[in-house]
Symmetry: C2
Subunit: 211 residues, 2 copies
Amino acid sequence: MQIAIVLFDRFTALDAVGPYEILSRAPGAETVFVAERTGPVRNDSGSLALVADRTLADVPAPDVVIVPGGPGQSAQMENETLLGWLRAADATSTWTTSVCTGSLLLAAAGLLKGRRATSHWLALDLIKTFGAEPTGERVVIEGKYVTAAGVSSGIDMGLTLLGRIAGDEHAQAVQLLTEYDPRPPYDAGSPEKAPAALVEEFRAKSRFILR
Amino acid sequence: MQIAIVLFDRFTALDAVGPYEILSRAPGAETVFVAERTGPVRNDSGSLALVADRTLADVPAPDVVIVPGGPGQSAQMENETLLGWLRAADATSTWTTSVCTGSLLLAAAGLLKGRRATSHWLALDLIKTFGAEPTGERVVIEGKYVTAAGVSSGIDMGLTLLGRIAGDEHAQAVQLLTEYDPRPPYDAGSPEKAPAALVEEFRAKSRFILR
């Protein structure tokens, strides 16, 4: 099973590495980081680069496609090299997935039309404009399309998908090995739970946050 | 505030990227990935490389030190270049931290003697042999020494530490932005919660898992 994780300038690192750490532990998985060009790809803050080992063209038909989000997503929304690759890869994939605003790229490629999907909570309105049906769920499975909410939700998506791919027991083994027994010291991880003032502040400047 | 995240061959990616994604969002943070040599450093499975932008020598006195774990930790336990750097950096750091078996490196450097600390659940016995006092807590704060349990626990550590560094409100803002409202689809993330047979199986082969 080949898993392709797409990188682009100014992606968010945890969007990619969260599901990577879980799904790359599927039996027989070959996981490959891909981008338009091979070599280091810088994240949103510029302080971390992950290496793309293969080009998009090198990996035309992965079994699983994972598209992270991040502020750099907006610059890719009309990048036909990437969008065309997503469409072609999706034609033969078993699972087509995204984390955070990565779902906007799937949507821009036309893959989420009429489908339930999610994204970063600040991008739920935007994804609707591409014909997707946004939900407030953390992980949305719609046929072979699996979308996750913001950043850290990719870990939950990875584990959910690993259960489907490799069975509950294997997924539990990976949960134990990665000690995924989360204990956030605060309870502010969703717009429903966070202080209202904070939510409003982010909504007011969302156009800057998402770019 | 300078944050140094240490890389070495066969580290575990999420150990490093979890706390990175949270702590790099502290106000005024300059986060830098360091290793003995600059350039790509491959993780445990070999399918992902993160770029070390600076050498250890380039970054002698960071305010925050973060040491990830991973099977590659065992090959570093007598690496005096790294251990010496850890001791020197610790002499002036505000926080000296680790995720997963990274605490074994802090312990090997002599920094956890007589201190409460944690590690990956399979390494708790081992850390005792270096004079640390292992606990089953997910994040242990002992003065300026902060150790986290396995892999994914670095996110909880990052958020806990961000609260201490930047205040509760900023930490909550970062929790909301990274949508850290975890919903694991299974409840097997600790040896207390996972199926007993799975725990025993891992214990039986722990020497292979940790190397």
